[in-house]
């Protein structure tokens, strides 16, 4: 893999610190830091937090490109009718717009969720053989129940539990194939038909779009539910998919201690204070009504 190494992340202000740690872990794990280009799809990220992410330029010589999407009419229209929660803010759908946002020279890229820790040179993943397919991803271990629901028959979604289904936290993307899937168009059609209500957020949308047309990567490229004992497997990318997050005070995950040093101990502390302030402001809003507190 020669040339630029393109990596995309999508996050809102509440996840600026994990996004920083994920991007910094990419920088630490490769010697080709100056080739890195981070495409950051952002939702209401403050100037101070954006500046923090720009720190990767000074420390590693990587490029950082910001894409503030809170004012993007396409994303606003697409997500207006979608279910949203703290865990699934509108920005999670931002990656569906990657083809429209990225400069034309990007032919291949890696998309990362913000709750990952990269431990291997990203150019190895970027150079993986996709076998002519548009997407490379890792199977979702919990897919059967996710697809079939209670008693493995309650959920009547578009998928069969017998078919392959990927976790969308780490994606190796071929730009042309991704563009051909017309994801914004697909999302628009799913919203219009009401089918979106039967889907599990954007992960189902992506699985629907690339059904039978993705290449399965080894599970070490997206090690989900990373128990500390799984460190022995020397995973390439650790994905903190459970409620145990490595930035929390109490966590029981693989590489929790390493993660704190990747995020930097100073930022871990500040991020903790930020989360407490947000929680406190939310509590105040609930108790005393809207407008009574802002983080």
């Amino acid at each position: 893999m020669t040339g630029r190494l393109h990596v995309a992340l999508a996050f809102d202000d509440g996840f600026w610190a994990p996004a920083y740690a994920a991007a910094r872990s990419v920088c630490i794990a490769t010697t080709r830091r100056a080739d890195l280009v981070f495409h950051l799809l952002e939702w209401q990220v403050s100037a101070a937090h954006r500046a923090e992410l720009d720190g990767l330029v000074a420390e590693y010589g990587a490029q950082v490109v910001h894409y503030p999407l809170e004012g993007d009419p396409t994303l606003r229209d697409l997500t207006a009718a979608l279910p949203r929660s703290r865990a699934f803010p509108p920005i999670v759908y931002g990656r569906l717009l990657l083809d429209r946002l990225l400069p034309p020279e990007v032919e291949r890229l890696v998309y990362l969720d913000a709750d990952v820790l990269v431990r291997a040179p990203i150019e190895v993943l970027l150079g993986s053989d996709l076998g002519g397919r548009a997407l490379g991803a890792v199977a979702e271990p919990g897919r059967h129940r996710l697809i079939a629901g209670d008693d493995m028959r309650a959920r009547r979604g578009p998928f069969d539990p017998a078919e392959p289904y990927f976790n969308s936290g780490v994606l190796l993307i071929d730009r042309a194939g991704w563009a051909a899937a017309d994801l914004p168009g697909l999302l628009g059609r799913l919203v219009a038909s009401g089918e979106i209500a039967t889907l599990y957020h954007d992960q189902d949308v992506l699985n629907l779009a690339f059904r039978g047309a993705w290449t399965e990567l080894g599970f070490r490229w997206n090690l989900q539910k990373p128990h500390p004992a799984l460190k022995a497997l020397d995973p390439f990318i650790v994905h903190y998919t459970t409620g145990f997050k490595p930035w929390r005070l109490l966590n029981y995950v693989a590489f929790g201690s390493t993660y704190r040093h990747v995020m930097t101990r100073d930022l871990v502390r500040r991020y903790r204070r930020y989360r407490w302030a947000r929680r406190f402001a939310e509590l105040r809003r609930r108790l005393f009504g809207p407008g009574s507190g802002r983080p």
Binding site: H144, A148, D160, A162, E163, F219, Q224, A229, L230
Partner: protein
């Protein structure tokens, strides 16, 4: 039911269980059906001790839901099986049902070339045909290595049965066996078993698993461990195993268990059957403590 012809591309799967294991057998079968699209090709050969009508009906739900075939073989009514089970050493945990699989070539009808045997404490998570139709490369069977091999065949201080097993030799777990029935038949299993019963060998080895390892030594194909992932704990979920084998005392049908995909297992067995089975076991245990016998249904 037994007159229905086999599908043209039949995937033959065999399970052996006694009446009280009907619910886990159902869970294993349903997991197979859920994980493959070739549900109509599946033929389940159920070698069982005498079954209650209610449990038979529970099992038949597989046909209703997935269109797979079920064939029942009451081994208590098979004189050869009954004779072998009566004379072979009794497995306290698994009962003597374990010996039924040694007689597949005698129990099952003609015309089956390939058979996949599974223990009933298993949950399948990938299309079964991937392993059931694997190229055996001229070997008689395919199986996964047993991580506990050294302790099982070597015993105390790894010194037992050195005349039968070399500690360095490969040894498989018999929970999943992909069988070329022609080669199985040619191995003369019943004759070997009779000889080992007669000379006392069966009394000093680990039941049928050691026996099968002796019969097929050097003639089995080793499969990826993810096809018989033994003793799977929660942390192993990340490895996306294809087939979970809940070996040892930790079973997914226990109300509290820390095994991998315990919740998925409950939904695979289905919640009504899961809790019915739990109540039944509880009742049996309580009656056992009181010195009374459960009716079993």
């Amino acid at each position: 039911m037994t007159d229905t012809p086999f599908p043209a591309r039949a995937i033959h799967v065999a399970l052996c269980f006694d009446d009280f294991y009907w619910a886990p057998a159902f869970g294993t079968m349903r997991s197979i059906c859920l994980a493959t699209r070739r549900r109509a090709d599946l033929v389940f050969h159920l070698c069982h001790r005498s079954l209650t009508e209610a449990h038979r009906r529970d099992l038949l739900a597989i046909t209703e839901e997935f269109g797979s075939q079920l064939r029942f073989y009451d081994i208590d009514k098979d004189p050869l099986c009954a004779s072998v089970m009566a004379r072979a050493p009794y497995n306290k945990r698994l009962t003597n049902i374990v010996y039924a699989r040694l007689l597949f070539d005698k129990i099952l009808p003609e015309g089956i070339a390939r058979l996949t045997y599974l223990d009933c404490d298993m949950m399948v998570r990938a299309p079964i045909e991937t392993v059931a139709e694997i190229d055996l490369g001229g070997k008689a069977i395919a199986a996964v290595a047993d991580p506990q091999a050294l302790g099982i065949k070597g015993g105390r201080d790894i010194k037992a049965n050195r005349d039968l097993f070399d500690p360095a030799d490969a040894y498989f777990n018999a929970g999943l066996i992909v069988i070329d029935l022609g080669a199985w038949r040619a191995a003369g299993i019943i004759e070997r078993l009779e000889a080992m019963l007669a000379d006392g060998t069966m009394n000093r080895i680990y039941y049928d698993q050691d026996f099968l390892n002796l019969v097929f030594a050097g003639s089995w194909l080793e499969l990826d461990p993810r096809w018989n992932f033994q003793n799977p704990r929660k942390l192993h979920e990340s490895l996306n195993p294809f087939l979970l084998h809940y070996t040892g005392p930790h079973k997914p049908w226990h109300l509290w268990s820390h095994v991998a995909f315990a919740r998925t297992y409950r939904h695979t067995m289905t919640n009504p059957l899961f809790y019915h089975y739990w109540r039944l076991r509880l009742k049996r245990r309580v009656l056992g403590l009181l010195g009374r016998k459960s009716t079993g249904s």
